[in-house]
Amino acid sequence: MSVAAMMPGSPERAELMKNAVKGRSLWDDARRRLLRNKAAVASMIVLGLLVLLALVGPLLVPFDYDQIRKNDVWAPPLTGGHLLGADSLGRDLLARLLMGLGVSMAIGLIATLVSLVIGVAYGAIAGFVGGRTDEVMMRIVDTLYSLPFIFFVILLMVTFGRNIFLIFVAIGAVEWLTMSRIVRGQTLSLKQKEFVEAARAAGLSRGAIIARHIVPNLLGPVVVYVTLTIPAVIIAESFLSFLGLGVQPPMASLGTLINAGALDMELAPWLLIFPSLVMIVTLMCFNFIGDGLRDAIDPKDR
């Protein structure tokens, strides 16, 4: 190869640069591994469709979720224009299911965000400050861990009435514990890493180190845990709804629909089967994506 070919601006050089091996970041690697995981990719597609359905579906269904129709009481699927049938008040199941799916997903997302914010802040502070502060903060988490939390959530719902905002807070407040432990452990080990020392030696400020070096490395485990927290929250909410303490009628969530379906299942099994199916598919998608992400981001754990 002639020297001229290497001169900046020469067409040969441009050609070479195009073919040169491009450096791959950790995240590129992770994306590749994730996209090779068939279960995770299929789950992402299905979940995307479900989200889309929950968002625009209600506009396409010719019934409202709380529209009571005397003539359609317990209409089986595919009769009277009800694709999935109707319930004991003649309300369209499809409309209620889409609405319930949306509510469940929204609760899952928001409560997870609450736990994310509390958990990351708490864990990062404990990990960063270290020493006595860390010890006390983690001892508190240990103590909270051994509480029978479901009882406190039930008490909370009984005490302050069944409003939807409280469900977010209650569940989010329960789920942050694991998040804070993960973040704290990660922060502790990151603090010791050579690249952090190098950054410090290079004169970066504390804030810059956190932003440039610590947080991006925290992101992996946090993302994985978030995808696994969302289904846990959906289950927790449905559990409360199932006990009659969650979302109140005429609103619906997957939990209330399954609960109502279980009451009428002898007469109208579709009221139980369809919501259960949607619930199972949703939870499985989240779990597959979470597992896939974990394998992709942290291949050591395989």
């Binding site: 240990d142 103590t143 051994s146 509480l147 029978p148 479901i150 009882f151 406190f152 039930i154 008490l155 909370l156 009984v158 005490t159 302050f160 009435g161 289904p231 289950i235 449905s238 559990f239 199932f242 006990l243 009659g244 303490l245 939990g255 399954i258 609960n259 379906g261 279980a262 299942m265 002898e266 099994p269 139980l272 089967i273 259960s276 619930m279 199972i280 939870l283 499985m284 779990n287 597959f288």
Partner: protein, 307 residues
Amino acid sequence: MLRFLIRRLLVAIPTMFLVVTVAFFMMRAAPGSPFDGERRLTPEVEANVMAKYGMDRPLGEQYVNYLAGAVQGDFGPSLKYKDKTVLDVLQENYAVSLKLGLSSIVLAALIGMSLGVIAALRQNRSADYVTMAVAILGVCIPTFVTAPLLVLAFASKLGWLPTAGWNNGALLNMVLPVTVLALPQIAIISRLTRAGMIEVLRSNYVRTARAKGLSESRIVRKHALRAAILPLVSYLGPACAGLITGSLVVEKIFNLPGLGKFFVVSALQRDYTVVMGMVIFYAALILLLNLIADLLYSVLDPRVRLA
């Protein structure tokens, strides 16, 4: 060992204190009172009733009184069930929950471990994939979904099993509730066993055992399995918590006279003392099981040092 035990018991004290405190004030912050019945009490009667239970005192004083009683094992009378103390109520109802919980954890351990071992021995073959697919299903599907679906299939449609009821713990009545409670545990236990077995089967001492010419079944039973199920022991605590949560649902669906069903009812009726008693009971149970798990772990695995 003794030092560890004392340390753990000392840590348990603030935990229990926190449990009692939070539960007490949360319960009292709830609107309504245990004496709101169908029939409204006249103010005088209500004042008398309140005085009888010491509820006319300031909340702080009641709290101190409650703590003093609880320390001595006196959890007070039930406010809803006349002439019964909280301990009576607990005693009358815990047997059903206990039988249910124990049966399902034994069932889950047996099936879960067998499935896990099979999957590990047939790693990346069809038996492995089927088992693990079932395990994923078991983890994903919550009890309140499996319970009604199983009732619909096996009780309503096929008519093989009763739909609900306890019937003094008859075997047929227990099949469905125990299965529902055990399913998620089977899933988790089989995954843990599989992971443990795969790791252990690669270890040097298993290779040594093979080199000695031991039969494969002896290697699995005597050498590999014992080490592989260690992680299961530390799962005991969370498993118990899962069973308790599950039993709330299962007891409601199958209409079983256990503690779980009692808890929600009592909370809704504002039976303060019974609710408090149950929260304390469950918290102590979880702490105790975690402690047992840690002790067992150190006995089974001498590499683990208690600190």
